[in-house]
Amino acid sequence: MTAFLALIRKDLILFLSDRRALVISLALPIVIAAFFGALFGGSAKTSAIDVALVQQDTSEIGNKIAAGLKADPNLHVTPLAMADADKAVRKGDQKVAIVLPVGFGEAAGAALFGSGEKPSISLLYDPSQPAVLAMVKGMLTQQVMSVVSAEMFGGKMGQEMTERSLHQLDEQARTDPDSRALRDMLASVQKYQTLPTRDGAAAGPSKGLSMPFTTADKQLSSGVAEQGYNAYAHAFAGMGVQFILFMGIDMGIGILLARRSGVWSRLLAAPVSLTQVLLARAASGAIIAFALLCIVFAVAVFGFGVHIASLPGFIGMALCFGVLTASLGLVIAAFGKTPEAARKIAMFAVLVMVMLGGAWLPSFLFPQWMQTLTMAVPTRWAIDGLDAVTWRGMDAMAAAPAMGVQLGFALLFGLLALWKFKRA
């Protein structure tokens, strides 16, 4: 036991004395996770869409549409000239530009009653943001319908438009019975427009057409997830897993270097078995990986508002992932021919593993076949398990399958490494 503990102690001292390894294992995952977390929405509930507004129509309707768009909390509207808006969208500074053309308000009012051509609103959009275009179209439709109908049914412009339309329809009604019916309807509208309000002012109703329903949006993850989705939680899980696996590579390379330098033989010349030396290295690797993941998540909790829903679940996940990392290091050391070649191959393998595991992009964004396929990748279980005990708000039992699968992979890797070491 003295020898076993001494070997673990040696590895811990060596790791702490290696500043480069510490920086790579701690600072980099935190910085990159912060970046990815912010990119995917951070901890905010929603984020407004950047939209440029080119308001060429300065009529009352045009002004009201512009004001309505600016007041929409889902949009962040920047008024720009046409040339600037065009440039901003091309550069990607704005996702969509709405161009309200001259005379839009009047033309839209006329078109509402079917007596004129429908005016066109140009939408300039970034081709990489087709989904945003659809969202902006929806919000614009709501604004235009609301403002134009309100103006037509109660505004001054609407009254003038009704008067003019009635005059035109009077002419047509002599020969066309359908126009007579429309004239009668417009006459009723005119009567409605001139109804006095309760306080005696001569104005019709001020609200136009609006969506006949609202939605009640509720985030659903799991029972205890009161905090809602926090993109930082997934980002810290992904980057934590990635960079701790890099530490696992370093651990494996360290063994290869020790074998090359003769230190490994010197250890085995002592009264300790190969299995003891390997187990001690695995134990120290697992302790380091566990500690790193805890520190990374401590920063996530205190610096980025990530919520750990189940502390026992998180500790269990971190321990299992630590064991997985250590066993990966042993496999690299066992099968690596030279430290240089092994590092390149292991880096590639780990990058593929973390990519397929959903460290960069959440796995639920993958196509269905890939989601099924990546169940065979241990990092998928590590990241899904960490997601479960953080933003999904599940308990330790829910993460137990992820823990079990990681330990299964660790056992497989460990046995493979031991077999190869003993053969060598």
């Binding site: 020898a3 001494a6 001292i13 330098s261 003769g262 230190v263 033989s265 085995l268 010349a269 002592a270």
Partner: protein, 313 residues
């Protein structure tokens, strides 16, 4: 009569179809220093690997103090100290931490561990650098720390595999002082080196190995007696030696061999005392020696005589 500490009997090791060690046998007595010599590829490292319990022999036995040495034999490994040819140190751990680790590997802890660290640091003159990392040490200091790590558990037998490679003369001398002090304490040593003068200085028994077999297993004095020439005389003449002079020289009493290169003559002598008459004969023959020197036949001469002069890369 000294007791046998280590007994190696008919040791065999194969690497695939190649037999690296072929029936090697030798013994090390308690307190004895055995020099293990052999050209590159002779099988020395394989034998050392088996002696340290790193490799399992395919045949034969290694018995130390009544216990069989094998990779899994932990108890017998506690009796062996290993100083590998490569520096087996953690460069980023302090000297103290390195010794603490190697001591703990042999089960030392607490007060005993601290005492042994102090003792071995004193033995290798590194007490004042205990808290420094080997990465800041000179080559010689690293070699001494390498030896200190092997001494931590106070082994009965110390195996040193070329422990002076790449060190300056002062450090080499310091290492010899340490090893001679260990000899004085009655420790048994197995010493391998390419430096024959080191083995000559330290060893009281020599085993020469080549192609996996023992070529010689005897004392240095016995090895010297194997050669006809016990001394050498080197003479540098003013003019190149002519054939009749060389024939005359060969016929002189005590001359066992002669090599001539222009005016330079290498004359093998049966004994050192034969040098004076040979010099007198050269003078009478009208030769004008510019320079001359006598030397005892070296272990290197014996080694080359036994193993040949073919390169072993």
């Amino acid at each position: 009569m000294p007791t046998v500490l280590l007994s190696v009997t008919n040791l065999v090791k194969n690497y695939g179809a190649r037999r690296a060690v072929d029936g090697v046998s030798f013994r090390v007595l308690a307190g004895q220093t055995l020099g293990l010599l052999g050209p590159n590829g002779a099988g020395k490292s394989t034998i050392v690997g088996m002696l340290c319990g790193l490799l399992a022999p395919d045949g034969g036995d290694i018995v130390l103090g009544g216990e069989r040495v094998a990779p899994g034999a932990a108890a017998v490994k506690r009796k062996i100290g290993v100083v590998p040819q490569d520096l087996a140190l953690y460069e980023d751990l302090s000297a103290l931490e390195n010794l603490r680790l190697f001591g703990a590997l042999y089960g030392l802890r607490g007060k005993l561990l601290a005492e042994r660290i102090d003792k071995v640091l004193g033995q290798v003159n590194l007490a004042d650098r205990a808290r420094d990392k080997p990465v800041t040490f000179s080559g010689g200091m690293k070699r001494r720390l390498n030896i200190a790590a092997a001494l931590m558990h106070d082994p009965q037998l110390l195996i040193l595999d070329e422990p002076t490679v790449g060190v300056d003369p002062q450090s080499r001398n310091a290492i010899f002082d340490t090893l001679e002090a260990l000899q004085a304490q009655g420790k048994a040593l197995i010493y391998t080196s390419h430096y024959m003068e080191e083995v000559e200085r330290l060893a009281d028994h020599i085993v020469i190995i080549d192609h996996g077999k023992v070529l010689a297993d005897e004392s240095p004095a016995s090895l010297h007696s194997r050669l006809a020439a016990q001394a050498a005389l080197r003479v540098e003449l003013a003019e190149p030696a002519h054939a009749s002079l060389l024939d005359g020289l060969r016929s002189q009493r005590g001359v066992t061999s002669l090599n001539a290169d222009g005016g330079a003559l290498d004359i093998g002598l049966a004994q050192a005392a034969d040098a004076l008459p040979v010099m007198g004969w050269l003078q009478q023959a009208g030769c004008r020696p510019l320079h001359f020197a006598t030397a005892r036949t070296s272990l290197e001469d014996i080694f080359l005589n036994l193993t040949g002069r073919t390169l072993r890369d």
